[in-house]
Amino acid sequence: MSPIGVDEWVARSGDRRQQHSGPLGALSRAYARVNWWQRLLVLAALGVAFGQIGANGFQQIVAFNSVLYAILAVGLNIVVGWAGLLDLGYIAFFGIGAYGYAMFSSHALGSLLTMTGGAELPTIAAVPIVLVFAGLVGMVIGLISLRLGGDYLAIVTLFFGLAFFEFVNNVDQTNLGGNNGIIALLPWHGFGGEIRSTIGYYYVVLIILILLMAALHLLNESRTGRAWRAVRDDELAAEVMTVPVNAVKVMAFSFGAMVAALAGTVFAAQQGNVFPTNFQSPILILIYACLVLGGVGSIGGAVLGGLAVTIVQQMLGSPTDEGYLFYGIILLALFWKVRPWQYLAATLAAIVGFGFAAHAIAGAISRSAIAGPTGSVGWIGSALRHWVVVPVNGETYGNILFVVVVCALIGIIRLRGIVRLVAVVPTIYFAACCWESRLSVDPAITAEIMIGGILVVMMAVRPHGILGTRRVEIV
C-alpha cells in the first residue's frame, strides 16, 4: 500500500530506479543522461567507424541490409507504432519504391512508352518522383483506414500487399519482366558521379537513417506526432479535441509509404535489379519482427530491432557463427539466471558429467551410436567430439530429440526451484546433441527456428520490446 497522498507512480519510483542495477543499469542511466541528438551522433559515429574498418564483402552486405531494415522498421513505426494502424500492406510500398526506381533506371519505362532508348532519369529526379507517387498510393490505401480499424484494416491491407506481388509478377511481363524482374539497373548517379560499391550504398542508407531519425524525432514531438498518438489511444477523443482524425490517419499511411519507398529505391540500386520475390510476406514479417522486438512506438527501438534481427539472421547463415550463437546463448542464459554461483557451478558440472556418462553408456551399447560426425566444425566440434551422442545416421535421432527438447522446455517453464535446475541439465545436453546431429546440418532452416525462438523468449521477457514503453489500453 502506498501512503495516503502519494500515488502509485510516485510510490514505485524507487523500485524503478532499483530495477536496473549492475552494468546494464549503468548503461541505461548513461543512455538516459544524454539527449537525443547526442545519441544520434554516437550512432552516426559508430556507423561511419564501421565503414572505415575495411569490412569484407559479406560484412558489408550484412551492414547495408541491417541499416536498410532499420529504415523500413522506422517507417513502419510511423503507421503501426504512432498512429496505431495495423498496416500489413507495408511491403508493397517498399516494392513500389524499388520498381519505381527500376522503371526510371532501365529500359522498362522507355519501352512501355514506346520510346527508343528508355526514360532514364538522374537519381536526383527519379527518387523524388517515386517518393511522391508512393506517398499518393499511401494516401489511397490510407483511405481504407477511415472505415476500418484493427483486424479488419490488417486483412484488407494484407490483400493490397499480396496484390502488389501478383501485379508485378503477372501484369505486363514484357516490361515488368514477370518473375524475372527488371535487371541491369543504373546505380545511383548524378552530378557526374555514381555509386557502385556496397560500402557506398552503406553510407547512403546510413545518412538516410540518421536524417530520418532526426526528422521523425522532431515530428513525433510536434503537433502531428501528438495527433497520431492521440488517434492511437482514443480516436473519438482526438476528433473532439480538434484533431482531424481522417486526415491524420491518411497522413500517417502516406509518410510510412514514402519511407518504405525511399528504402526501396536504394535497395533496387544496390542490388542492381528487382524481382517480385523481394517483396513477399516473409520480408514483411521480418520488418514487423524488427519493430516488435525493438519496441513499437520508439524510433530507437525500431532501429535497434532492425539492426539486431537482420544481423542475427544473416550471421545464422554461416555454420561457425551459428554454433557460437547457439552455445553462447545457452551459457549466457545460465550465467544470467542461475544464482548463487554454487548452483551455477553445480549445474555446469552436472551437464558436463551427464554428457560423458550418456556418451559412455551409449558407446557401451553400440559403437555406431556415437560414431556420427558432429555438425559443428572447428574447435567447438572437436571439443564436443567425445561428449555428445551422435549416431551414424543421425537424422531421425535428431528429429526425435528436437521434439523432446521442445517438450522439455515447455515443461521447464512450469517447474520451479531446484526441480527446474535438475530438469535443465538433461535438457541442455539433449539440445546440444540435437544441435550437433541435426540443427547445425541445415543452417538455413535452423536460422529461422532460432530467430523464432529468440523472438519468443525476448517477447516473454520484455513484451513491450527492448526500448518500447509499456502501454495500457484500459485502466
Binding site: 507512480w9 526528422a215 503537433r223 492521440a230 489511444d233 473519438l236 476528433e239 479535441m241 514503453t469 485502466v475
Partner: protein
C-alpha cells in the same frame, strides 16, 4: 443579445427510440447552465449532437452560426469543447501532451516545418508549451511539476477528471460542456470541483453547460437548471424551481402511489 448556444427543435432517433424530441435549449454567454434528469433522459445525447458526434434534425447555432453537420473537430475549433462522462484521456501520453494535443486546431505548422524546425513551428511549439502550463496551473499543485511528464494512466481518478477539463480548456473554446465532472469523486473533491467550475467562468470567462447528478453541485453552480426526461425538456428555471417541480420529482422518484390510488 443572441444566446451563445441555441438548440432549435433538435430531434434525434436511434431506430424507433426517440433520444431527443424537439428540444429547445439556449445558453447565454458567461452563464452556467446545468442539465439534470434520470439516466437515459438524453443528457449526454445533447452533448453528442452539439459536438457533432451525432447528426440531429433541427438546428443548432453557436455564436449565430449553424453547426449541424460539421465534423466534431471543426465544431471544437469554432469554440465548443467537452469532457466525457466515461473518461477518455490519451492514457499513454503524458499529462502535458494530453493538453498539448488539444491545441492541434489552433496551430498550423506542417509536418515539413516541424521536421526542419522552421520559425513558425518553433514559435508554435513555444506557445503551445506556455498554453499547456498555463491551463494546468489553473488546477493548482495537482497537475504541476513532476506530473507534467507522467503518463495519464498513472493519475488518480479525480486528477483524470481535472486533466479532461484542462484538455478542453486548451482547445481555445469559449463554451465548455462538462459531462458529470463530479462523478466518482468524494465529498471533498466534489466541493472542490464546484468551486472550480465557478472559477472557470469568473477567472477565465468560460460559458459552461454541465451535466451533473450531484444536486449539491447543481445547486452550488447553476444560474439556470434544465430538467430532461425521455428526450424532452420537463422544465427549466432556478435550481429551487426545478428541483421542486412536480414533473421533475416524478421523473426521479416515480408517481406518488397515494396520488395514484385517488
Amino acid at each position: 443579445m443572441a444566446p451563445l448556444l441555441e438548440l432549435d427543435s433538435v430531434r434525434l432517433a436511434f431506430g424507433g427510440l426517440r433520444a431527443l424530441h424537439d428540444l429547445d435549449l439556449y445558453v447565454n454567454e458567461h452563464e452556467i447552465v446545468s442539465v439534470i434528469g434520470p439516466n437515459g433522459a438524453g443528457k449526454s445525447t445533447v452533448f453528442n449532437v452539439v459536438t457533432g458526434i451525432y447528426r440531429p434534425g433541427g438546428d443548432i447555432r453557436f455564436d449565430g452560426k449553424s453547426i449541424v453537420g460539421r465534423r466534431p473537430h471543426k465544431i471544437t475549433n469554432l469554440g465548443i469543447a467537452r469532457t466525457f462522462q466515461s473518461l477518455r484521456l490519451f492514457l499513454n501520453m503524458t499529462v502535458k501532451e494530453n493538453v498539448k494535443t488539444a491545441t492541434y486546431g489552433t496551430t498550423h505548422a506542417t509536418p515539413i516545418e516541424s521536421m526542419l524546425r522552421l520559425p513558425r513551428a518553433r514559435r508554435e511549439a513555444r506557445e503551445v508549451d506556455a498554453r499547456a502550463e498555463d491551463v494546468l496551473s489553473f488546477f493548482g499543485e495537482r497537475l504541476q511539476g513532476y506530473r507534467f511528464d507522467q503518463p495519464a494512466y498513472s493519475l488518480s481518478y479525480a486528477n483524470r477528471r481535472r486533466l479532461e477539463i484542462a484538455r478542453a480548456m486548451a482547445t481555445g473554446a469559449r463554451l465548455l460542456l462538462l459531462d458529470e465532472p463530479a462523478a466518482g469523486m468524494n465529498p471533498n473533491e466534489t466541493h472542490e470541483i464546484t468551486e472550480l467550475i465557478g472559477r472557470l467562468r469568473d477567472e477565465r470567462g468560460y460559458t459552461i453547460l454541465v451535466i451533473e447528478h450531484d444536486m449539491h453541485v447543481v445547486e452550488g453552480i447553476s444560474d439556470r437548471v434544465i430538467a430532461l426526461d425521455h428526450g424532452e425538456k420537463l422544465t427549466e428555471g432556478s435550481f429551487h424551481e426545478v428541483a421542486n417541480h412536480p414533473d421533475v420529482v416524478e421523473a426521479y422518484l416515480g408517481r406518488n402511489p397515494e396520488a395514484l390510488q385517488q
